[in-house]
């Protein structure tokens, strides 16, 4: 399939996206650098990276919800054929919340504390689906039920502070899926939650994905969390996608030293009784642009070429791409 034909089939098609922020020292920080990513209908794609890798900026760019100092400097984002970067605010509002739902990391600060959760869900379906106040309330109850909140009839009139963290995140998900969206962007949806609740919330997202047939972008710093759930995984570093592969292949045959380092640093992969692998050095300063591999200063495989030439994003197998001069070598390992 040619790349153009493929782009046409995709629900979401991001091409060459660049996002910049201005930091407190008035320096321009290039948070997302030339990122291209396609999401197919019904697919779950995980975007994984350390903090500062650009994964949240990428997610928020799609719905144009970058914080004040952020701006998209180039690239295109096509959603079901519509150019989101050229869209008028009015058209965007019709898509946000209706065809694209967002689940933020911290449900406490993204829900309105002065409004019942029922009202907050109802508001969305009134606006986007034109439901009457009464029907919207019924819909809110049903949605609470769908996301697994017991006693929805009573809970619908309660306030966010009356819900636990996991329950609030379920409410956020209810809002995100209330209009049966085509795409849900979930930004670290379970980071603040217990492992048991984490599993429940991710199971819920997965179940709804099958039920509604929606696509999901799952943004996380934890490779283990997305393993076994995502269809494909994109690993970001320094604003760029360093590796992208089908999930199963990424975990067994990572073709990038950064992905391998992330896997090695997980607590279950201790190298000695009292030592976990530590990725040496610090994440890159994104206000500096280098014609080199951003990971080279921390990479154990780096050679002269790595600090002289930026590696391209090349295919190592079907749907498996890596940005490394030694991608083939890692892939064969």
């Amino acid at each position: 399939m040619s790349s153009q034909a493929k782009a046409q089939a995709s629900l979401l098609s991001i091409e060459g996206l660049c996002v910049e922020f201005t930091d407190r020292q008035s320096r321009s920080v290039k948070a997302v650098r030339d990122v291209s990513l396609n999401i197919e209908k019904g697919e779950m794609v995980a975007v994984v990276g350390e903090s500062g890798s650009g994964k949240t900026a990428l997610g928020m760019s799609i719905v144009r919800l970058l914080p004040g100092a952020g701006r998209i400097t180039s690239g295109s984002i096509l959603f079901d054929g519509l150019d989101l970067l050229a869209a008028e605010d009015r058209d965007l509002r019709a898509i946000r919340g209706k065809r694209i739902g967002v689940v933020f990391q911290d449900p406490m600060s993204s829900l309105n504390p002065y409004m019942t959760v029922g009202r907050q869900i109802a508001e969305v379906v009134e606006l986007h689906l034109g439901l009457s106040r009464r029907d919207a309330r019924e819909q809110a109850k049903e949605l609470l039920d769908i996301v697994g909140i017991a006693d929805a009839g009573k809970r619908v009139d309660q306030y966010p502070h009356e819900f636990s963290g996991g329950m609030r995140q379920r409410v956020m998900i209810a809002i995100a899926v209330s209009c049966k969206p085509d795409l849900v962007i979930a930004d670290e949806p379970t980071t603040a939650l217990d492992s048991t609740v984490q599993a429940q919330v991710l199971d819920l997202l997965d179940r709804l994905r099958a039920k509604i047939g929606m696509s999901v972008i799952l943004i996380s710093h934890d490779l283990a969390l997305v393993a076994g759930r995502a269809d494909r995984v994109s690993v970001m570093y320094g604003g760029r996608i360093f590796e992208q592969a089908k999930a199963a292949e990424l975990f067994t045959q990572a073709a990038n030293p950064y992905t391998r380092a992330l896997l090695a640093a997980m607590p279950e992969n201790a190298i000695a009784d009292d030592e976990l692998y530590q990725i040496p050095g610090m994440p890159p300063d994104l206000s500096v642009e280098v014609e080199a591999c951003e990971f080279a200063p921390r990479c154990e495989r780096a050679e002269a070429v790595c600090s002289e030439k930026r590696p391209t994003f090349t295919a190592v197998s079907d749907q498996h791409f890596s940005r490394c001069h030694f991608a083939e070598e890692f892939f064969e390992k």
């Binding site: 350390e50 636990s164 429940q200 934890d222 076994g228 992330l262 530590q278 990725i279």
Partner: protein, 253 residues
Amino acid sequence: MTELLRIEDLVVRFGGRNGVNAVDGVSLSIGRGETLALVGESGCGKSTLARAVLRVQRIASGRILLDGEDITHISERQMRPFRRRMQMVFQDPYTSLDPLVPVGNSILEPRRAFSLPKGTNELAELMTAVGLSSALHGRKPSELSGGQRQRVGIARALSVEPELIVADEPVSSLDVSMQAQILNLLKRSARGRGIAFLFISHDLRAVRFIADRVAVMEKGKIVEAGPTSEILDNAQHPFTKRLIEAMPKVVSG
């Protein structure tokens, strides 16, 4: 191993006579230099138990002994020398440091509070020990990364040479790569300095790496306790099994 901390039948009650026992008859002990992980879901009472051990939470009944001495009901004045011996590392490195105070001063503050020598030499040593460049001592917390701030929190706890550190979810707000660095640091502190840890976490992956023993808490009670590998590989209690079940797993090549 000599016993450092002993908790006997501890009860913490919220809401008076008709209230609930947030900690409901817990007995535990931690040996010198030992790391005990306390695991359970949020709301199970693990943080309340930790606060009771540090005597910042009212105790309804039961006893807490540090190094053989009963500290359950002693006065705040009598408590002072014990406070130096028990330190805390918090979950959130963003809110547990004073944003206006240079981190070097934050690290040495506990020494001043306990009238120890000011320790300017110790500052460089402490910062190096936790993997911070001592050149950062003049920085404000906002100028540091999350991982660096957590190192400051640990240096602060280490500064008064405690025998016990209570660490409440110290890595759960950090990235995998930062987590590895902080877990290494905590384990090295336990081994190298002989510090005992009460490590509170819901993350069994971190627990397996760091803990000598594990106690599983559900609804204020300890439902299962034992050596780490025994609990994690051969859990008996259904609640423990459920926690293990929920743990994300990766099969990597």
